[in-house]
């Protein structure tokens, strides 16, 4: 947070960015003094820090919204996107990784490894554009962008005290049309981001499964007549999952980086999309708040992942 605070200050202030050139230097200085941007940096820093500790992230400069509000609305959107993509990545990466491990160094493995590399080496916005081109523009099956259609949005606005999660709201209403509207909007962004992470998961699962399949307890179970398919699916999967889950936690941090690009590509109004907007406007208050939130999400997901890893491994007891 500290780093972001000072880095943003180096690039300039929001008032100059927004109004520079249109006002005289004297007027500009007056506006800056009014907002407190002429005080020494260290004073501004502690002022901000004090606010954060009391739960006040400040108000954005460009559109006068409290940052906490941005965090809940758009944070939920990002959370939704990342959650969908993790599901896609798991569905792609884990089974394919297991197949690659079992067919090690034969042709299915070779094909899958290339697929994995293509998955995580292709920039996520490029994958996004391709998907859009094929499924939205070409085939017309899925919507081009956004989280929900305009009609859906109107239906959604009728809900009393809506949650920031569209999927939950749609389920609560029990409106099938709305549900399919929300889901179809999510498919392309989730797949685009999921392919990226899925490629990494595939390689991760493959490597760890190969390592585990070479362990002596697998050989030992084989010597007792346990069939090969069961050796992979039951005996090797769980021990292999321990390192996999840990690395997956770190991957979620990477996914947030990918989310910024995905959200921009699909105009998905999440934290990443907003971050890009506010960054352009040099709105420090908003940027700091969002970066803080992203850091909290990363820390939380790593914590959850450590707990899961400990649950899988009977040797870890607290």
């Amino acid at each position: 947070m500290t780093v972001v605070f000072f880095l943003m200050r180096i690039t300039g202030d929001p008032i100059t960015a927004a109004l520079g050139g249109r006002l005289t230097p004297a007027e500009l200085a007056a506006r800056r003094a009014e907002a407190g941007y002429d005080r020494p940096l260290i004073v501004q820093y502690f002022d901000y820090l004090g606010g954060v500790l009391s739960g006040d992230f400040g108000t954005t400069y460009t559109d006068r919204t409290p940052v906490t509000e941005i965090l809940t609305t758009y944070g939920a959107a990002t959370f939704e996107l990342v959650a969908y993509s993790v599901v896609v990545a798991l569905l792609l990466g884990v089974p394919l990784g297991m197949i690659a491990a079992r067919t090690r160094d034969r042709w299915p493995d070779a094909v899958l490894r290339i697929v994995a590399i293509l998955g995580y080496a292709t920039p996520v916005f490029f994958v996004g554009l391709l998907l859009k081109l094929v499924f939205s523009v070409g085939l017309g099956w899925l919507p081009v962008a956004g989280r929900i259609s305009t009609r859906g949005e109107i239906t959604m606005s009728t809900i009393l005290n809506p949650s920031p999660f569209y999927l939950l709201d749609a389920l609560r209403l029990g409106n099938m049309q709305l549900l399919s509207d929300v889901v179809t909007h999510a498919i392309l962004p989730a797949v685009a981001l999921g392919i990226l992470t899925g490629g990494i998961f595939l390689r991760l699962v493959r490597t760890n499964m190969i390592g585990t399949l070479e362990m002596q307890y697998i050989e030992s179970a084989r010597s007792r007549g346990v069939p090969e398919s069961r050796l992979t699916a039951r005996h090797a999967l769980r021990p292999a999952l321990i390192p996999i889950v840990t690395v997956m936690g770190m991957q979620i941090a990477m996914m947030l980086g990918g989310a910024v690009l995905t959200e921009t590509t699909f105009e998905w109004n999440g934290l990443g999309y907003m971050l890009a907007q506010y960054m352009k406007a040099r709105d420090y208050v908003a940027v700091q708040g969002i970066v803080m939130m992203l850091a909290v999400i990363v820390a939380l997901s790593n914590f959850v992942v450590d707990v899961i890893a400990a649950l899988i491994d009977p040797r870890v007891r607290y």
């Binding site: 179970a221 084989r222 007549g225 009977p314």
Partner: protein, 486 residues
Amino acid sequence: MVALSGPRLRALRGEDVSMIFQEPSSALNPVFPIWWQIGEGLRAHRPKMTRKEIRAEAVSALEAVGIPDAAERIDRYPHEFSGGQKQRIMIAMALALGAELIVADEPTTALDVTVQAEILDLLRDVRDRFDTSLIVITHNMGVVADLADSVAVMYRGRIIERAGVKELFAEPREEYTKKLLAAVPHLGRRSAWTALSEEQQQEIEEAPPVVVAEDLVIEYPGRLGKPAFRAVKGVDFTIRAGQVYGLVGESGSGKTTIGRAIAGLERTTGGSLQVLGHEMNGVREKAFKPVRRRIGFVFQDPATSFNPHLTIQECIAEPLIVHEKALSAGQREQKVRSLLEAVELPGDYARRYPHELSGGQRQRISLARALVLEPELLIADEPTSALDVSVQATVLELFRELQQRLGFAALFISHDLAVVDSLAHRIGVLFRGDLVEDGHGPDVLQRPQHDYTRKLIASLPVPDPAEQAKRRAAFAREWGSGAAAS
């Protein structure tokens, strides 16, 4: 067997032939409870078995191999059992499937001697009770003498000799077998102390002490809120100049901790430890640094104690670069070559990398590296336990010769009483952090003071079937059949 494939081979695995592995810790899956793992074999052959039946089978199999409270412990995970118990569980798995033939690949190599005696006893018991055939694969001639009825000797992929166990030990036919049998250290046959003349013995006894430990205590700090673990509990001993002191004990007895403390790699907690005139308790790294060059260290595993990216030359010369800055590169190379010669390796090995050498060669290099600064004290932590018997014999011979020639004092740490006796002038036996025995080889072996030492000596199988049968009977009389506990 050769013609079988796929499913038919799988059907045979476990049910007809079962296997027991060397390292029981890695042969059990760490994330599944014991009963489930025993059940996997059963389920593979009898898919219709219910969970209840499997659990009942698991309990009776564990009871058959002498695991106490089997009914309660089948839900435990492998890490909650000791090494010996894990090996019992492996045997239980073979029994649960009703295997007619059990192939045991070095079943006791990873275990302590006293536990080894119990497992060998259990295997013998299994053979008698269930009429199972056993194939034991081992390098340990003592185990062969203890367990086998007939023996096949393998050399470079061929069986070169086949004979009844008594015949093989009495009259080996092949040259290789003879050499192999001669290389096995036989407890009490060749004591390093009795090999010395009386003057030599007296000289060693009167030499100035190099290491003096008085009431030495070493503790490892416990995790938050837990008491510290006391690895060494008040130990007294003295190593004199030119003396080889052998330290024997099972895994976890604290022998390695003592070795590391003398080399300044471990902090002492209490008492006093004098090394080359320096007090180690509370010593600072800076004060100890000049002493460090006077101590050499040989590690147990030659595979991991070398940096794979350095050549042998760089590896041996490293201490010279640190401690003898005055030497030129040419002089260093000269020194390395003469050391390689001393450990009986060709000089051009200096340019090789560790992975290009065999285990025995690497352990010779280890010795050369430890001796490069001409230390007054050498600490050797299980230097031969990762080696084959015949290689072990040559490395031990080399050690003995170098020690006599260079006259350094040595702490020789080993779990093998026979090896220690053939090398050490004085023997100390450690048992759970206490030094229960301290004396010259023959005194310790023939007149052991402590019960544990007697058990240790009795459990060590000697490479002679007739003698071993007597020893086994004596062991059973005193400590009972090992099948009950571990």
